[in-house]
């Protein structure tokens, strides 16, 4: 059991009635994970619900030697249990990118909560439709934008959400390796390397081992919005 107040930081639970929040808090367990821990695998039975208090996770699908990163949930987001309503298997895997602190609810407890609390059932549906919207945008980008545009879009989105204004631009943690950036935009590592290099040569970004500084957000945004012919 955790304190009900902690749920105000979780989008899924923040708007729920005090009674529902208490019921969720009674079933939730706080767990800390190190970076690189697989929370659940693609094809697993429905996974527990993880409500992220701190840290970052990647959701991805793997086939043969290729990987497609689908989303990068952060603190306040909830992941897992996506296949609980259908009883199917997890449609993707989740691995921690940083240290993560999460509130975890087992699938058995989650099912009971969903059955007994209509406002939680509706919030859970909202969670699924929000993720669905993200995937529709991802499909659009993969289908109609080229790698340069997709990478620009990823950097702009991260700058807008996580960026800290600095001298000369907006700074955020690099978070992903070049291979992982390639897995986000659906290409090979070499292509991402060349695209980052071009962005640097054009004065749009500067990169260090740990950080990315966006020097020209407007130009990067305009590159990101271009659809390939």
């Amino acid at each position: 059991m955790v304190s009900g107040a902690i749920l105000s930081d979780i989008k899924l639970a923040a708007e729920l009635s005090p009674r529902t929040q208490r019921a969720i808090a009674e079933k939730a367990v706080q767990v800390d994970y190190m970076p690189g821990i697989e929370l659940y695998q693609q094809g697993d039975p429905p996974s527990p619900l993880h409500m992220l208090l701190t840290g970052r996770v990647k959701l991805y699908r793997q086939s043969r030697d290729r990987c497609q990163i689908l989303a990068l949930p952060a603190n306040g987001d909830s992941i897992g249990a996506e296949s609980l309503p259908t009883g199917g298997t997890s449609p993707y895997a989740a691995t921690t990118l940083t240290q993560v602190r999460a509130l975890v609810i087992s699938t058995v407890d989650l099912q009971v909560l969903l059955d007994e609390l209509p406002d939680f059932q509706e919030a859970f549906l909202r969670l699924i439709t929000e993720r669905l919207k993200q995937f529709v945008t991802l499909v659009h980008d993969l289908a109609f934008r080229d790698v340069t545009s997709r990478l620009a879009m990823v950097l702009v989105a991260r700058a807008e959400v996580e960026g800290r204004p600095q001298d000369g631009g907006v700074l955020f943690d690099r978070l992903l390796s070049q291979q992982e950036y390639a897995d986000v935009v659906g290409t090979a590592r070499e292509v991402v390397y060349r695209t980052f290099k071009r962005f640097e040569d054009d004065g749009l970004v500067s990169m260090t081992r740990r950080h990315i500084l966006i020097r020209d957000l407007d130009t990067l945004r305009s590159i990101g919005q271009q659809e390939s012919r």
Binding site: S63, E82, S83, P85, Q121, L125, L138, V139, R229
Partner: protein
């Protein structure tokens, strides 16, 4: 051309929809009373991407393709909905505009719940929320797969996957695909020339037989996507 509307939906119609399987008779009867049936001819647009979303649609008969279109007119197939499947935005939340276009692939019969009716029904009884959670959870699983197909699969694998998806089994055990190379290219996210080259290679390896406007699948296993087949079954391209 306007869709042909037949006002009555029966409980028997709703029993053919898997998402409604767990609903009791009295709830099905409530749903049947507020739903209408519509018919569409092949090629007819059911709704357009970007339009205000007004309904939740269920396929009673036929097939509907869901596509996305770029500003320059390029088309990407998202999925094909056949009997019992549901499509359309979730009417309860902010998905107020259709995120994709729906087009009848053949003669289609649909039954429809207007969006405002969904909202009032869920307020009275949360059973429909459970049904919607099931539907959108399934769709999430499908779109995760589509993202992987577009981001991580080769063009050849994408074309093979479309052949399997759009194969009709009416004319034979192995299945026939009645799509032009142009439409197949749109569905697989590539161009016609690539599809033509790939189909020639498949034909050379005895996987398909291609005649004008019709592709017959001779070896389904050889077309299986990378996540479900054994490496040894891959066709050497």
């Amino acid at each position: 051309m306007h869709p042909h509307t037949i006002p009555r939906v029966t409980i028997q119609d709703l029993r053919r929809i898997p998402a409604f399987e767990t609903l009791p008779e009295d709830y099905l009867s409530t749903l049947a009373a507020v739903m209408v049936t519509r018919r569409y001819a092949p090629g007819q647009i059911i709704f357009l991407e970007g339009e205000q979303s007004q309904s939740l649609w269920f396929v009673l008969d036929g097939r509907v393709k869901i596509i996305k279109q770029s500003e320059s007119g390029r088309v990407q197939g998202l999925c094909m909905m056949d009997r019992g499947k549901c499509f359309g935005s979730c009417p309860l939340f902010s998905m107020s505009h259709n995120p994709a276009t729906a087009e009848a692939l053949d003669n289609v019969t649909l039954c429809v719940i207007p969006a405002d009716t969904v909202a009032s029904l869920t307020k009275r009884d949360p059973k429909l929320v459970r049904v919607l959670t099931h539907i959108y959870s399934q769709r999430l699983q499908h779109l995760a797969r589509v993202s992987e197909v577009l981001g991580a699969w080769t063009v050849g694998d994408r074309i093979n996957d479309c052949l399997l998806t759009y194969a009709s089994h009416a004319d034979g055990a192995e299945g026939c695909v009645a799509l032009t190379h142009e439409r197949l290219a749109a569905l697989a996210g590539t161009v016609r020339e690539v599809v033509t080259r790939h189909l020639k290679r498949l034909e050379h390896h005895g996987v398909i037989r291609s005649e004008s406007g019709r592709i017959t699948i001779l070896n389904r296993d050889a077309l299986r996507p990378p996540c479900s087949r054994n490496e040894s079954q891959l066709i050497s391209m």
